[in-house]
């Protein structure tokens, strides 16, 4: 008898646990529907202190790892607070990965900060679908009209509404080592054919032509994207990604074939599919590889970073990815995309102030980020008034001349399709799939996503 009671107690305990857990969930979904109820707590807090309003702001630049970013953010906040009497900005800072995790958790429990950071396209979609981010169209039509480089704010738009404003902009130059080029009698290539013959010369001389950390997969994707752009023109890949076109487009197939030809030539560092990007970069920094296709976020490495010798930095230059003969793309079409951007929470109870803060932040950031932190902002920069390393000015000028900016494929795609894309890139580089299979796998994954 006693045993039975004990068992009953235990059983009921378990049930209670299960119920408690489920109960929490219900609460979560309830508050999804009537978001205001949970935020009453916050607004009560602000009401206590008279007219004072608090904007909660979460960002991902801790003092330790990004001191310059951190300092600019603090300056901007101070300036904003002094210009807006009665508004305080409360900051919470997390490192990149923790930030992503925490944002997800906060979002699920409906406790997003008033202002926070997000990434474009694929990352943004679930938050917009869950009705978590506020539309920022009014800012774009008002204060920030014509301030952004074309194609950057659009990356944060879904169905014509913009939910985030970008702070960073990255393009993807092909860095190369002039010393290794001249030592081996290779000229800076003007066309893709010249690039290939240069690669052949380097291979023959026993120099690794290109370093590539394709364990990370997006690195190889950038090679494919450039070839796709140069061969099939700027529209083919975005169309294929949206599902309007197809990856079996002859130009896109040819781009995949070119990748495998480069692989067969021995263009890429030995073991590229097993190397991470940082390891691969090591080959370039140690002058063991002649070329490196990477985002403009690496510019400080070749201009201002004090850990690299001046001699090395002087020997590094970059080129725009060369044109393919007979291809539809041109050299001014760039692969790149905005980095992090700011969002305003839909459920924020200080939405107007938050939007004002975002607008203020974007403008101030644009004025200071290149000179103070070496970050290219998504807002237009007047290069004539700034004192910058040569390579920065070149990149900024390239940006101003850009005929087209194609967003990184893995950012454009939804998370599940991006996963297929990235795995297929590894398989393509590894010679496990034919260009035709590569194309079909993409089309299949994208069709499946569009169905849902």
């Amino acid at each position: 008898m006693k045993k039975k009671t004990l068992a009953l107690i235990l059983l009921s305990l378990f049930t209670v646990f299960a119920l408690v857990a489920c109960g929490n969930d219900d609460e979560g979904t309830d508050s999804n529907d009537s978001g205001e109820s949970t935020n009453n707590g916050d607004s009560g807090e602000t009401a206590d202190s008279g007219e004072d309003k608090t904007i909660d702001f979460m960002h991902l630049w801790p003092e330790g790892s990004s001191p310059q970013h951190f300092a600019i953010v603090n300056d901007i906040i101070d300036e904003f607070e002094s210009e807006n009497e009665g508004v305080t900005v409360e900051v919470e800072i997390l490192g990149n990965e923790q930030y992503k995790e925490k944002l997800k958790v906060l979002s699920a429990s409906n406790e997003l900060p008033d202002v926070g950071m997000t990434w474009a396209a694929g990352f943004l979609t679930p938050y917009v679908d869950g009705n978590k981010f506020a539309s920022l169209d009014d800012l774009l039509e008002g204060d920030l009209n014509d301030l952004f480089v074309p194609g950057t704010a659009e990356a944060y738009a879904l169905d014509g509404t913009t939910y985030g404003l970008p702070l960073e902009l990255n393009i993807t130059p092909l860095y190369y080592n002039q010393k290794l080029f001249s030592d081996n009698g290779v000229d800076t290539p003007e066309t893709y054919e010249e690039l290939k013959s240069g690669i052949q010369t380097l291979v023959d001389n026993g120099v690794t032509p290109v370093t590539l950390g394709n364990k990370d997969r997006w690195t190889g994707s950038m090679w494919y994207m450039y070839l796709a752009d140069r061969i099939a023109g700027p529209d083919a890949l975005p169309n294929a990604i949206s599902g309007e076109g197809s990856f079996t487009d002859p130009g896109l197939i040819q781009a995949a074939e070119e990748i495998q030809e480069l692989v067969d030539m021995g263009a890429f560092v030995n073991g590229y599919n097993g190397l991470g990007n940082d390891e691969a970069k090591g080959y370039f920094l140690n002058e063991a590889a002649a070329m490196y296709l990477m985002g403009s976020w690496d510019l400080p490495e070749y201009t201002t970073n004090e850990n690299n010798s001046q001699e090395f930095k002087d020997s590094i230059d970059y080129m725009k990815f060369p044109e393919v003969e007979g291809g539809k793309g041109n050299r001014d079409s760039l692969v790149g995309g905005p980095g992090v951007g700011l969002f305003v929470s839909e459920d924020s109870d200080v939405k107007d102030e938050a939007k004002e803060f975002v607008s203020f932040f974007v403008q101030k950031w644009g004025e200071r980020s290149v000179t103070d932190a070496g970050v290219i902002p998504a807002t237009k920069v007047d290069t004539s008034e700034t004192d910058l390393p040569e390579m920065y000015i070149d990149v900024l000028n390239d940006l101003n001349e850009a005929s087209n900016l194609t967003l990184y494929a893995d950012v454009q795609l939804s998370a599940a399709a991006a996963e297929v894309h990235l795995n297929q890139i590894q398989a393509l580089f590894g010679g496990e799939v034919t260009p035709q299979e590569f194309a079909e796998a993409h089309d299949e994954a994208i069709a499946k996503e569009n169905e849902e």
Partner: protein, 292 residues
């Protein structure tokens, strides 16, 4: 004391804290992940109940079965390696010169964190500057494989690292078990003219059979849910060639924001582990414990 221990309420009270912790940290999440497995959920928005659809998809998901196959290979591989661990322990138990030192050396990998071990082996396997390929080149091998970049070699390259990682753990268990064998039995066998191999086969191994069974279960279940080195060394690549069930689950839930499906994978992993554990216990539950 006996009085206290016979009071059921007191027992329940004593057991409660641990039970609460295990309940909250183990069983509730298990139940929850089973529950999430029935949902279409991206981890952010609202959940949608879709019944067993995730599990139906799982059945036809080639990538999942590939990763399951890799996990089973690892289980097989680590079970076989138990023989080597056992052999080493038997040799070390023979009071050789320096066996104490060797036992400590074998334990070192146990003291390192998985990420450190992964970094270490990444350096070993580095295709151009790694020790392994440098050695092979010195020995005259022309084109040594790029171990972690090649779909044919990546899985076994990581297996070797995993086996190295766990060697100390199993050797310690076996050594402790072997220490428990009365010296008199071995002595008696020796007087009767048994050679060391006979002693190992006929006396030592039968006596520690119970421990061996436990290690087999540990090795198999541990392999099936293995994650760390794979995640750090290759992330499951290239193109899924080293994906195992746990890394596939992680990728689905945290990589592609498919929490519902990721939970279903996790639950399937649990079920597979339970079935296998039961099966092993069943298969190895042969007769009584041997005693001399």
């Amino acid at each position: 004391m006996n009085k206290v221990m016979s009071n059921k309420v007191v027992i329940a009270l004593y057991v409660l804290p641990a039970l609460l912790l295990i309940g909250v940290l183990m069983f509730v999440p298990i139940i929850l992940s089973g529950y999430y497995g029935l949902m279409d959920w991206d981890g952010i928005g609202a959940m949608k109940f879709i019944g067993l659809e995730n599990y139906a998809e799982l059945m036809g998901d080639g990538k999942f079965w590939d990763s399951a196959y890799h996990s089973f290979l690892l289980a097989l591989f680590s079970t076989i390696s138990l023989i080597a661990y056992l052999a080493i322990s038997l040799i070390l138990a023979n009071k050789l010169k320096g066996s104490e030192l060797l036992r400590k050396i074998y334990l070192i990998p146990m003291l390192l964190s998985s990420v450190a071990i992964a970094q270490l082996w990444l350096k070993v396997y580095d295709p151009n500057n790694g020790i392994l390929n440098s050695l092979l080149t010195t020995l005259g091998v022309d084109n040594p494989p790029a171990w972690l970049a090649d779909t044919d070699t990546v899985l076994f390259s990581i297996f070797i690292a995993i086996i190295w990682q766990y060697a100390g753990f199993y050797i310690i268990i076996y050594s402790a078990a072997l220490k428990g064998i009365p010296e008199s039995l071995v002595e008696a066998a020796r007087i009767d003219g048994a050679n060391p191999i006979q002693i190992a086969y006929k006396i030592k191994i039968p006596l520690i059979m119970g421990v061996i069974k436990v290690t087999v279960v540990l090795a198999i279940v541990g392999s099936l849910k293995y994650f760390d080195l794979i995640y750090v060394m290759t992330g499951g690549g290239p193109n899924g060639a080293s994906e195992v069930m746990a890394s596939y689950m992680y990728r689905q839930a945290f990589g592609t924001y498919n929490f519902g499906y990721g939970s279903a994978v996790g639950f399937a992993l649990l079920v597979i582990c339970l079935i296998l554990t039961w099966l092993i216990r069943k298969l190895t539950a042969s007769g009584d414990e041997i005693q001399y």
